[in-house]
């Protein structure tokens, strides 16, 4: 059996890397403050899925009008990039300070996305199907692609270090924390802007519908009545630096299920390996984990196998309180890892855990502690899980500011 790489012993491994700024935009709000206020008020951001979808249901859409991109980026002025830029705009000053502090070539860019501008490509293809030609100037390679997304983020931030889009479906923007940690530890760069952005499109809505994974009503992760996901959209960013103050990125564990393309291993072996590797990388004892922001999609299989893995890793005496925040935002797919990392950073900074929306009545077979009410208490260490098609798993350990 394959095992995740064994991290070599690190100096000062519990110190980790500070996260000096973060932001998130999604169906809960247009600013991080609005998003967090809705989260802690127990207010979901779900709305009916868009017109033009051949079935009904709910999704987590960014409803308000999004500002356009600067004129020099007009060819890339797509919804996915607009959502990303709105989230990034909030921490632009912090990113500019990091670029000035370390130098533009010593700051990297590692972002996750599964869709990039798929909605634009769909629109272009509909135009082609009806008129025989793509819209003038539409270039899927240069624009509606990971390359296009990177071009926008580089232009807006002035970052000149290595730039990568991790595209491993729903684990994409969790895995970028691994890239950031490894690049900083290997001396490639001194800071990495990590994040993710995904936007609603017909491919994902119809795809999850075809897989019978869409919930007919609001998604209810960990509930005995759970029936699937709501697809969401959003963007989130975090600035990871070699030095500075803030909550800390302590460890990352990645694994593969080696089981099935879209069904998780019911034994949760891949999930367990990712969490174990993350805690080993962080040098954090499982008994010291206070909080888990679960992948928690609200499908029968995911929540059952994830609870099994959490029990196996954290043990029966665990004090960890588990939450899924996908009942608020929907499943933001390629943006989920970064979005939920932002929720965890806020939890560690302020000592508060949101209620796991819709979890009651909790599935008694899960046998893990689910937060059915908001909790306020000091937190030291937290895990954030993201799992994906292809059996791609990541777990990230964060710590409270020192």
């Amino acid at each position: 059996m394959g095992v995740p790489m064994t991290p070599k012993p690190l100096r000062a491994r519990t110190v980790g890397h500070p996260i000096t700024a973060w932001s998130a935009v999604n169906s809960l709000g247009d600013t991080t403050a609005q998003v967090l206020a809705a989260l802690h008020a127990g207010r979901p951001g779900l709305s009916p899925i868009p017109d033009g979808t051949p079935f009904e249901g709910l999704c987590g859409a960014v409803i308000s009008e999004l500002p356009g991109l600067p004129p020099e980026l007009s060819a890339l002025d797509f919804r996915n990039n607009r959502i990303a830029c709105r989230a990034l705009g909030e921490i632009a000053d912090f990113v500019a300070e990091a670029v000035a502090r370390w130098g533009p070539a010593r700051v990297g860019l590692a972002v996750g996305s599964s869709t990039t501008a798929m909605d634009e490509t769909e629109r272009a293809y509909r135009c082609y199907a009806s008129t025989g030609a793509l819209p003038p100037g539409f270039d899927v390679q240069a624009h509606a692609s990971p390359e296009g997304m990177l071009r926008v983020l580089r232009c807006v931030t002035g970052i000149e270090g290595p730039g990568v889009v991790v595209s491993t479906a729903c684990s994409s923007s969790g895995k970028v924390f691994g890239t950031a940690r490894r690049w900083i530890m290997a001396g490639v760069v001194d800071a990495v802007l990590v994040g993710g952005a995904d936007s609603l499109c017909q491919t994902t809505l119809r795809g999850f519908h075809a897989l019978s994974l869409l919930s007919p009503g609001p998604s209810r992760p960990f509930s005995v009545e759970r029936r699937g996901i709501n697809v969401g959209e959003g963007a989130a960013f975090a600035l990871v630096e070699r030095e500075g103050s803030g909550p800390r990125l302590l460890g990352v564990g990645e694994s593969s299920d080696a089981h099935h393309m879209s069904t998780p291993d019911p034994e949760g072996r891949g999930a367990r390996l990712a969490m174990e590797a993350a805690l080993a990388d962080a040098g954090v004892d499982p008994a010291d984990v206070d909080h888990v922001n679960a992948h928690g999609t609200g499908t029968r299989l995911n929540d059952a196998m994830e609870a099994l893995a959490i029990r196996a890793v954290l043990g029966g005496a665990s004090r960890a309180v588990t939450v899924s925040t996908k009942g608020y935002t929907g499943h933001t797919l390629g943006a989920a890892g970064a979005t939920e990392a932002v929720f965890v950073l806020d939890a560690l900074l302020r000592g508060r855990i949101p209620a796991s929306l819709g979890a009651e009545p909790v599935d008694p077979e899960l046998s893990i502690e689910i937060a059915t009410e908001p909790i306020e208490r000091p937190l030291r260490f937290a895990l954030s899980n993201s799992f994906a098609f292809g059996g791609s798993n990541v777990s990230v350990v964060f710590g409270a500011p020192e």
Binding site: M5, S167, T168, T179, M261
Partner: protein, 261 residues
């Protein structure tokens, strides 16, 4: 920046079923589809060309290096992922009610080849799939470097892309290309050492007439120099007529080429 060793290589493009065939210019008409023997019958028959050629070169590089495919971490680099499947989905949405095939949908993710390879080999090690523009080859090497520095013994990096299909093929059609490098922390059994990855003003890689602007083809001079045991600085970005610094690295042969064992 970076210090790693190349222990094995793999390559597939129509007519050239391996790195040696490519480097010696010996084409073979029999090699019009990648074998991808790693995949089981039914999965192989249904797999896209993208997945098949990526899995094929993964296996070649592992076999060349004597590396265990059931435990090696992998990095997959692609500009467009499962483009053929994505275009198929766009077409399906134009027909009737526009319902999608669930299998096509889960096979449309960029990490499809990674998923099938890990299932076929029982490999639960970390695997990532990265995309980028012209710096695709360099960032994939940086990901591999990061994994090696963090403790992995070997990492296989797979580079694979197909030309765009109509109507998205405005830049003209070329040939698909997949290549792979088995990278290691240790010199044992290595063919070449890679070091000094940096951005500088240098001559970019000329577009190959067969591949045009296919970003992964920027890895060809690197692979060819490993096989030919040719030392020097190597550019990792295509000449797209843009100005500015590009990623380069230094290659030093270890004087026993891949396949020499």
């Amino acid at each position: 920046m970076i210090d790693l060793w190349v222990r094995g290589v793999g390559l597939w493009t129509p007519g050239f079923p391996g790195a040696e065939a490519w480097c010696s210019g010996r084409s073979s008409e029999a090699a019009e589809a990648p074998e991808a023997k790693l995949l089981e019958g039914a999965i192989r028959r249904r797999a896209t060309g993208q997945t098949r050629m990526a899995v094929e070169v993964l296996q070649q590089a592992a076999s060349d290096a004597g590396c265990d495919l059931s435990s090696v971490p992998t990095v997959w680099a692609t500009a467009h992922g499962e483009h053929e499947t994505a275009v198929g989905i766009l077409e399906m949405m134009q027909c009737g009610e526009g319902r999608l095939s669930p299998t096509r949908f889960h096979n449309s993710v960029y990490n499809t080849a990674s998923g099938y390879a890990s299932i076929a080999t029982g490999n639960r090690a970390p695997s990532t799939t990265v995309s980028s523009g012209r710096e695709l080859v360099a960032v994939a090497l940086l990901e591999a470097h990061g994994l090696l520095q963090a403790g992995a013994q070997d990492v296989i990096a797979v580079f694979a892309d197909e030309p765009m299909l109509p109507p998205f093929d405005a830049r003209g059609a070329g040939a698909p290309l997949a290549l792979a490098l088995c990278l290691s922390r240790d010199q044992a059994g290595a063919a070449a050492r890679l070091s000094g990855l940096r951005r500088e003003r240098a001559q970019p890689v000329p577009l190959h007439p067969r591949f045009g602007g296919l970003y992964v083809s920027a890895a060809l001079p690197l692979l060819e120099s490993v096989v030919a045991q040719r030392e020097g600085r190597i550019s990792l970005e295509l000449d797209l007529g843009e100005d500015g610094p590009i990623w380069t690295l230094r290659l030093d042969p270890a004087h026993h080429g891949p396949g020499a064992r």
